[in-house]
Symmetry: C2
Subunit: 361 residues, 2 copies
């Protein structure tokens, strides 16, 4: 007897990029380069002492409200502490927003293709999904604004976008927001914010003018804390207050709080990561051009490659060579793949193997 | 303009026990004993090397399916790996179950007073709450069975219960389950399982006979990993499959997976904790008897004390002395408090201060 909700029957599950451990296990490989999940290739080892000290508190629940971290982050973002809602990864904030705002049957606007979690979690909440196709691999803000109906509740905007790597600039977003009624929540997922260029939206400033915005950022990408799970959303006092009501107590573990606090204070690591990533991204651009392979210019630490034919056999070949890139079949992009900027050594090997494949296939 | 769901308007928020850091901060105290949140008073320091090794992977997302941990745990529990759903603390499994099973307006049966999260999260999902009072500080299984209607979807049973510390034995639960229709999910929250006596329900065996059961356990209590956030539920393949669909990928951080795996393999720490706790609980029982204070015998690592008058002033006094116990006002038990078994030193100080208060108030 089926006792679960009918929405869940046909629900597709998010398929994450293959973990390094799994590929090693399955293929019996010793060295595996993972260029699949937009992680930075360096772990913040400077955290060692702080985390070792935190171990003595591990039998105790974490601070439910992230007291110290909230204080430091609020100051940095120039917002009020109560405007912040922390999530077990910024993904959790997506779920919190949907749970707090969606009545069954209300509409959520997502672009397509984009980050898949918006749609999966919105379906779980019983929302009707309205998809707006990308235009030239960018979010089509005019089409999104036209798609708003009286039933629209949330518009999700990944900025910079994943998997395209393109971004919307401040002026575009500002103009767009003027067209959106205040009863609609505009959700900016800024997971790759730290990699983005100067004309990127100043979302905190836009939020001051309009209450119907939430933006989320994460410690998983540029800060190198994907393994610890911590991200956050910033919204009006009212919206953040509601999200914090829905949030479970203790959702942010102790090590994540400790690491994020230290990460905010260590500007050096972040700076190095950003500059390393930009240099290596340029290296990859150049090499792809040499191989005459199309790609989309990216405001992030990954590149969407337009392979112009089915990538399945390339993907399998690279996997066998210990290189994991991201297939985009689930996004409907079977002729594309996504590659994360790795270490120089990883990027060189990726290009070598790609060149070898092109020559011999 | 209110754009959030109306269920959330009057929602009460779970108020966690005060963290040690907060009390130190607020009262300017250097030494604070926290006997408020049913944590064990020793951190599993044997994890140090394993966690230090894991730091080098921290920029990488965790295994979304907890591959290694699932394997070891399934073997230990003698269930199939796919029957397990891991949560960011076992609390998260409560939310997953509600999101997966509750259509707005369906009914959830909870006892009262009991662990508050069931009711809070069920309200968020738009469920109708049916409360069944405890009987002599125990779950009243007959009354619960009678409360089932055609709209009932989930029955929550904390076993052992929190905050009473009482438990239901195997035979009671077995008899109860026979009365419950298979379209109702019976949710056993066994967070304190490791402390419970021999006639505790063999829930995994009961699950083999009936598919409409889920039981959850946690690494937060006896294993001493509350700060890391990891718990799990075990259910039929069908139910677990659905919960894993609703679960966000990467909900269990790397350190939690690594620590839980090591914890399952270190039987010594667990054994010591259980025996220490039993000894100290007996010490507290004896001392409370000497002070002529009533309490409920507990199958857990905490004791519900019946103070027989409002505990507010006692609570404030103990707090000023650097001892945090748990007020139970939010449970409607203003004449009771809950005290966690601490270290011997902590327990002695608690008894001393309690005795002093009684003499001088």
């Amino acid at each position: 007897m089926k006792i679960y909700r009918k929405e869940l029957e046909k629900l597709k599950v998010y398929k994450p990029g293959k973990p390094i451990e799994e590929v090693k296990r399955e293929l019996g490989l010793k060295e595996v380069y993972k260029l699949a999940s937009n992680e930075i290739p360096f772990s913040p080892l400077y955290l060692r002492d702080a985390l070792t000290r935190e171990l003595k508190n591990v039998s105790r629940y974490p601070e439910s409200n992230c007291f110290y971290l909230r204080k430091v982050l609020a100051k940095k973002l120039k917002v009020c502490g109560e405007q912040i809602v922390f999530g077990n990864g910024s993904d959790e904030v997506i779920t919190l927003a949907l749970r707090a705002f969606i009545e069954r049957g209300e509409e959520v606007i997502v672009s397509y293709p984009t980050f898949l979690i918006y749609e999966i979690q919105a379906r779980i909440e019983g929302a009707k999904i309205r998809r707006v196709p990308l235009k030239d691999f960018r979010y089509d803000l005019d089409a999104i604004a036209r798609k708003v109906t009286r039933k629209t509740k949330i518009i999700f905007i990944a900025n910079p976008d994943n998997p395209t790597g393109t971004y919307l600039a401040h002026k575009e977003v500002e103009g767009f927001l003027r067209k959106i009624p205040k009863r609609v929540l505009v959700y900016f997922d800024e997971a790759y914010f730290e990699f983005a260029p100067n004309d990127f939206p100043r979302t905190a400033a836009l939020l001051k003018k309009r209450g119907n915005i939430i933006f989320t950022r994460t410690f998983s990408k540029a800060y190198g804390l994907a393994g610890l799970r911590i991200g956050y959303g910033v919204a009006s006092l009212e919206v953040a207050g509601i999200l914090n009501k829905v949030r479970e107590p203790f959702n942010i573990n102790r090590f994540a709080q400790c690491a994020a606090l230290n990460a905010l204070q260590n500007k050096n690591f972040l700076k190095k990561i950003i500059s390393y990533t930009q240099n290596e991204k340029r290296y990859l651009y150049r090499q792809l051009q040499v191989l005459d392979i199309s790609f989309i210019k990216s405001a992030t630490n990954f590149i969407l490659v337009n392979f112009k034919k089915d990538t399945r056999s390339l993907y399998e070949y690279l996997l066998g060579q210990g290189i994991i890139v991201r297939e985009l079949r689930s996004w409907g992009l079977k002729d594309f793949f996504r590659v994360t900027v790795g270490t120089h050594k990883e990027n060189v090997k990726f290009i070598q193997k790609l060149a070898y494949y092109l020559k011999n296939s």
